[in-house]
């Protein structure tokens, strides 16, 4: 089983709190989105069922809960941890995979729109560091292969 990279002590407090529910935009506007349940399940070690749920992708990473939280922790940490595991198991939305593939290949999520640049009289775009970044990411992979983390 993959490790949850979470501070369980803080999460336990969180499961008894719930204060930031009322300021979270997704809790307020997306029916069914409720990190309180997710946190409670994580604390009880029953988070598996959330890995395939679209709910964990509905956290907007707006950091509102983080800022309001008396522990400076926030619902979002729980959601991010579950998304990371879901992704490792291939349970991520297809769009995330497409985006990641593009990032891994080019170091970017898109290339400058050249005809439009011309139309607006913009200069040649700066050179991308994509190739150099690839070397760094490859070195990271190598290190992991050798058992570093």
């Amino acid at each position: 089983m993959l490790e949850l990279n979470l501070n369980m002590k803080l999460l336990e407090m969180c499961s008894k709190c719930g204060a930031c529910y009322s300021i979270c935009p997704s809790c307020t506007h997306l029916p069914g989105y409720d990190p309180r349940q997710v946190v409670a399940d994580i604390v009880q070690g029953k988070f598996e069922k959330w890995l395939s749920s679209s709910s964990i992708w509905q956290c907007l990473e707006c950091h509102y809960c983080l800022e309001m939280c008396y522990q400076h922790y926030g619902f979002e940490n729980a959601m991010t941890a579950l998304r990371t595991i879901a992704t490792k198991r291939g349970l991520n939305p297809p769009q995330v995979k497409r985006g990641w593939d593009m990032f891994a290949k080019t170091g970017k999520l898109g290339e400058p729109a050249l005809p439009a640049r011309k139309k607006f009289g913009l200069p040649e775009p700066s050179k991308s560091g994509g190739e150099e970044l690839k070397k760094v990411l490859d070195a990271l992979k190598d290190r992991r292969g050798k058992g570093h983390h």
Binding site: L66, M68, V96, G107, L109, G110, E111, R143
Partner: protein, 313 residues
């Protein structure tokens, strides 16, 4: 003023080159020492890269920051996400020497070093703090007196505050101050600080992205504001493109969306065509028409005594 590199980010250069245009126009207007430098990549986008692999997120951002560290420049971006991501990683590495050393070991392989010395700023707090409200007011050719603007800060302009430390993360004021400096009223409304919701469009939940956009746009329609002003390409995508998609489905909300650099550019005397406002999906003509109707006086002619007294420079 220290020289700074502009970090354009993927979204502006890929989808909204006109936002780069208006940003360059206002930077040039104030003779700011900005640079285009080679070698940047995606910041990287947190919701995507960090969900897949935190270490890749960290080294990618660290490498981008290393480029400006090396040149002894600061960094300014017209994208909230880029600054927030870069600053988040800078904060993480500066508070964790062990992780910083590990990252630098990887960067050494390509001859780079993350020091974390460069100041990373979003364009809005940069204009507020470094250019200054007073200098802006002095340059205005035609202000927005009589106009009612709804502001959308964009979560990542101000959060996470431990990394950005540029304004109050819950009740920020700097963007509002800039709007006031341009002579407009910044309308206060219940969903002002609510996230745009564009993130849902990146995880195959388009209908829910629209649902969140609708909440704010409906409120603004009812309040009859003249425009929604923001300074983030992701929020722009959400409120301009997605509003247009709703319009095509017969749901017309009619809220013009204006980028901060465009609003400033207009006040400085540039035309909507030059600034690329005519390239928006949602029609901005009602906003421009209203502005033409407002008398608009030259703000430079009146010294703002109160501002002077507070030492706002």
């Amino acid at each position: 003023m220290k020289e700074f590199a502009v970090f354009w980010g993927c979204t502006i250069q890929t989808r909204f080159p006109f936002l780069e245009k208006s940003t360059r126009i206002v930077l040039d207007e104030f003779n700011l020492p900005y640079k285009d430098i080679d070698g940047f990549t995606c910041c990287p986008e947190k919701s995507l890269v960090n969900n897949v692999d935190h270490a890749s997120f960290v080294v990618t951002a660290a490498r981008n920051v290393a480029l400006v560290d090396e040149l002894d420049y600061d960094l300014v971006s017209p994208c909230t996400g880029c600054v927030s991501n870069l600053a988040t990683v800078k904060g993480e590495l500066c508070s964790n020497p062990k992780e910083k050393a590990e990252v630098n070991e990887l960067l050494k392989g390509v001859g780079r070093e993350f020091k974390g010395t460069a100041k990373l700023q979003h364009l809005v707090p940069f204009f507020h703090d470094t250019v200054g409200v007073f200098a802006i007011k002095q340059k205005i050719k035609k202000d927005f007196a009589g106009m009612r603007i709804a502001l959308h800060y964009g979560c990542h302009m101000i959060r996470p505050s431990h990394a950005l430390r540029n304004d109050d993360p819950i009740a920020p004021v700097k963007f509002d101050n800039l709007i006031a400096a341009l002579g407009a009223v910044s309308v206060q409304f219940p969903t002002k600080m609510m996230c745009c919701g564009q993130g849902l469009d990146r995880v195959d939940q388009h209908d829910l992205a629209l649902q969140l956009a609708r909440v704010k746009l409906k409120e603004l329609k009812a309040l009859e504001v003249d425009a929604l002003v923001l300074c983030c390409p992701s929020c722009f995508l959400q409120f301009d493109n997605n509003q247009y998609l709703m319009e095509k489905e017969g749901e017309k909300l009619g809220v013009p969306v204006i980028y901060f650099t465009e609003l400033l550019g207009l006040a400085l005397g540039h035309t909507p065509e030059e600034l690329g406002i005519t390239a928006h999906r949602v029609d901005c003509a009602p906003f421009l028409k209203k502005w033409a109707e407002c008398s608009g006086q030259a703000a430079a002619s009146t010294m703002d005594d109160e501002l002077n007294a507070q030492g706002a420079l």
